[in-house]
Symmetry: C2
Subunit: 285 residues, 2 copies
């Protein structure tokens, strides 16, 4: 199946569009959304921010609730929002919201029954940007952001591929999945019990490893966390990431916000600052 | 049942909250949402914009998708989003999305089986503002806006109660419900076949009637319509409202937007202008 356009809405002078395509990496049909800012109407090519969503989300949550299009239109940035896992009747699933469909954790599964489809890491790092850059009027300047499970995904993917992204940001990321219930459940199921395999998908471990690689590019990282987030102390653990960053001398812009929770009301309140952060680094590239 | 708070999210320094209460007028439990801007944190009282949503919506669509909180916070305006009909197992319903629950049309039904609960006009005009003004730190400065069926509701309610509102605005309103399929279906069911009763809920008829009342207050009216709205020619018919306004010498600010459709992507693109419009008139009161 080739790329099939399934919706199109004008938004702040640009266009929000949804597409279906057959993913080779995930071995199933996938949907994604793209926001193309008005600059493309004049034949301009624009950089791309990839947005990774959290547990239970699809491509729609961010595009409908974050209010990102206004500033993306001003700054001339495209936004691509993929789904959060492979989908479909043939794809393994679980009754829990934190495992299976809607909960791909942006990793390459090695265990049964997940391995056949759950290869979200390769999908986000390779297949999707190749497709986007071959299809839409975009440059190869990329940056990446996400929320919760998607904040984990964005950090892991950027830390492992610093030459591919200009910057990374996260709202309320699962910062240390090896040491929280959501992460342990997912990593056990998808990766098995070898902790070495888990480390490749844990932001804290990855950031610590950079200390041994002094020539590595250090990416601009911005993280925002609500103080009234009900998952803060059990699942998100940003203090672990801050400690790891300090230990590795890796600069991270970290902001805490009193009274804000884990919802899109929090994201919408600060998404403009994330877009400006990305724009400043995308323009330098 | 007294007013029960069921959710609370910090948003742009203010608060988005949902409440449940037993409506006397509607004879059922109702939910609404309110956005309180940060000015109330300092003990300030703020004016209120009532937002009426379209077919199938609840209080959530506008609050989650319109991106209105940013500018409401800047301007110091509270926003109240009621549900679009009475709800519940005891409430009459219909299998069509354009009749029954989610489709109250902001009128007082006189026919069976609707009369017992479908009294949305009185709920919006009387019960809800009384409750809001008795409960929250708001002034009695009100204004009203809506989308599609809610645009119809906002126009009808403001035109019939010009002393209660400072201004009215609408996105893609059902402008002449007496002469479109959605309106005719709803009015037949809720109001019976006497066309005199229909005229009391038709913006075109109401605006024409103002010609005979030269002392009547003429409200500031703003209407925005997408040119690529698939309901434009069948259901919305803004040209009928423009003709009626011209006939009655009633000034209406009317804006058409090339390429925009009926969705919240359209609303989000222009909501800031509606909020500024309301703020300019609320401040004068």
């Amino acid at each position: 199946m080739s790329l099939e356009n399934i919706s199109c809405n004008k938004s702040f002078g640009g266009w929000h569009k949804q597409y279906r395509h057959l993913s080779t990496v995930l071995n199933c049909e996938m949907r994604f959304a793209i926001y193309l800012p008005p600059q493309v109407n004049n034949g301009e090519k624009v950089p791309v921010l990839y947005w990774l969503s959290g547990l239970t989300c699809t491509d729609e949550n961010f595009m409908q609730k974050a209010g990102a299009q206004r500033v993306a239109a001003e700054l001339g940035i495209a936004i691509v929002a993929p789904d959060t896992s492979p989908r479909g009747e043939a794809v393994a699933d679980d009754s829990s919201y934190s495992l299976g469909q809607g909960a791909g954790f942006y990793l390459n599964a090695t265990e049964q029954p997940w391995q056949a489809h759950y290869q979200m890491y390769d999908y986000i790092v390779q297949e999707l940007p190749s497709l986007i850059e071959a299809t839409f009027p975009v440059t190869q300047q990329r940056s990446i952001a996400g929320h919760s499970m998607g904040g984990h995904g964005a950090l892991v993917i950027a830390l492992r591929n610093p030459d591919q992204y200009c910057a990374v940001s996260a709202f309320s990321p699962i910062s240390n999945p090896m040491n929280c219930p959501w992460g342990q459940t997912a990593f056990s199921a998808y990766l098995g019990n070898n902790l070495e395999h888990w480390r490749a998908y844990d932001s804290c471990e990855l950031i610590k490893q950079t200390a041994a690689q002094p020539k590595l590019i250090k990416l601009p990282i911005r993280i925002d966390q609500g103080e009234d987030d009900s998952f803060l102390h059990t699942e998100l653990k940003p203090e672990a990431l801050q400690a790891a960053a300090q230990q590795a001398d890796y600069p991270v812009q970290f902001y805490r916000h009193q009274g804000y929770d884990h919802s899109y009301y929090f994201i919408a309140s600060f998404i403009d600052l994330h877009l400006s952060f990305h724009a400043s680094h995308l323009k330098k590239a």
